[in-house]
Amino acid sequence: MFKVEAIRQDFPILNRQVNGKPLVYFDNAATSQTPQQVIDVIVDYYSHYNANIHRGVHSLSQEATDKYEQARHTIQTHFNAKHPCEIIFTSGTTHGINLVANGFSALLKQGDEIIVSALEHHSNIVPWQMLCERTGANLKVIPMNDEGALVMSAFEELLSANTKLVFVNHISNALGTINPIESIIEKAHAVGAAVLIDGAQACPHIKPDVQKLDVDFYVASGHKMCGPTGVGMLYGKEEWLKKLPPYQGGGEMIAEVTFEKTTYADLPHKFEAGTPNICGGIAFGAAIDYLNAIGFDDIATYEHELLEYATEKLLDIEGLKIYGTSEEKTSVISFNLEGIHPYDVGTILDKMGIAVRTGHHCAQPIMDYFKIPGTVRASFAFYNTKEEIDALVAGVKKAKMMLS
């Protein structure tokens, strides 16, 4: 039995009120909330061992370095990477994607092809457009169908000896669709292409095994996994990370510097220029420990229950349409009320203390496909309850009444 009431005690923010009503937080796909266990780690860092890492001989620096590297190890174990040096700390998913895109600009030539999916977040489209502009490579797009699932036969047709890179999100942020990345990776590898998976939306719900997936690069963000903002991770196979040139120059990433020549540090420091988000990295590790203590299987089962409950209750509302009805989806419901703008629904819900996201979710191509200005998106986490879903349903009904 999943003890959601006990879990909620870990999240102080869930006790607050918004606009005079108890907060119902359903914007988890944008940012998850932070448990006390992680907040404590942040406070402990600044209270006891705040210091710069990797170069101090003093005890504080050593302690901070140990904790930071321990967090890297936690992340390595969590994602089952072969070596700790394959885990690069980043400022978040977008940083990780840009790091890889920048690295590939040295490896691509005119006529090479990059494939992305129609389900991408803007952050996963723009860096590749920029990369194509720099290198003369072409960008191809895997289309999606009415359920919001990728059309795999079209993907196979796009693949050729020219394909150098394939970029797909593990789970779509706008619709919650879980993409068949195992098959995408296998097919991309068959033509010799590398694969980067954006795991930002997946990692709060499932535990990816990068070795089993045989993925080349995988990125995630701490703030969607109960960690702080401004920290994330890039996993890259060692052989790939060695091949890519450094992204940014600065301290930490160098071995030797003279004005004639600089030699770069070994992995992972080659990609970690400057003083990193030390506290953030340590807290990210603590967040992963927290999630694992609850258990990803239990999280998935419970969230699926919430998804089914909410889907059924919301579909009872006449004129409500859900976008993204793929069978493989996570606890995200993107919807609209017929003839009513999502912004209006979101505004009324906010007045009732219910936090949802409205708009195009940084995924305009998806909205264009459905010919809508945007959607209302409710995304559930393991600390949400069915009672909160009831409040959402009541709120949507009220919004409908006021707005129609």
Partner: protein, 145 residues
């Protein structure tokens, strides 16, 4: 007194009075929603890409013309609450002289409890719309001089 002889300040005071009669957010919002629903705000021919202000969340169209040395604004939005607020803003700014429009502020929005809708981070197009109203006024002012 003709309607366009009423000063911006007087209209703002009227609106503050009207909103003071509402007891809670629901009544305020229902009023704005009804405003948004009932008012035909813009001629369809002016809902062009030239007149559009793209917010991240909702779209706003604004059209301006000079009549008897007063600027007449019409506007619209695809979101109804945004449209309701536009109706209030148009009531304040339209049919006024360019110099009065340039000098006017929107502090009354705070007083009627709709401040959050005019936050620059709200991305509903309203902040840009007010800027646009002022730009039109400045342009017409130059014309009149």
């Amino acid at each position: 007194m003709k309607i366009n002889d009423v000063s911006i300040q007087d209209i703002q005071n009227d609106i503050i009075d009207e909103f003071s009669m509402f007891d809670d957010w629901e009544e305020r919002y229902q009023y704005m929603i009804d405003l948004g629903k009932t008012l035909p705000l813009i001629d369809e021919q002016y809902k062009t890409d030239d007149n559009i202000i793209k917010g991240c969340q909702s779209k706003v169209w604004v059209h301006a013309q000079l009549e008897d040395e007063k600027v007449v604004f019409t506007a619209d939005s695809d979101a109804i609450i945004t449209k309701g607020i536009i109706a209030i803003l148009i009531r304040v700014f339209s049919n006024q002289s360019p110099s009065d429009i340039i000098a006017a502020n929107t502090d009354f929005i705070d007083e009627i409890g709709l401040k959050e809708h005019l936050s620059p981070t709200r991305a509903n197009g309203l902040v840009s719309m007010i800027k646009q109203l002022k730009m039109y006024a400045i342009a017409y002012q130059t014309q009149l001089n």
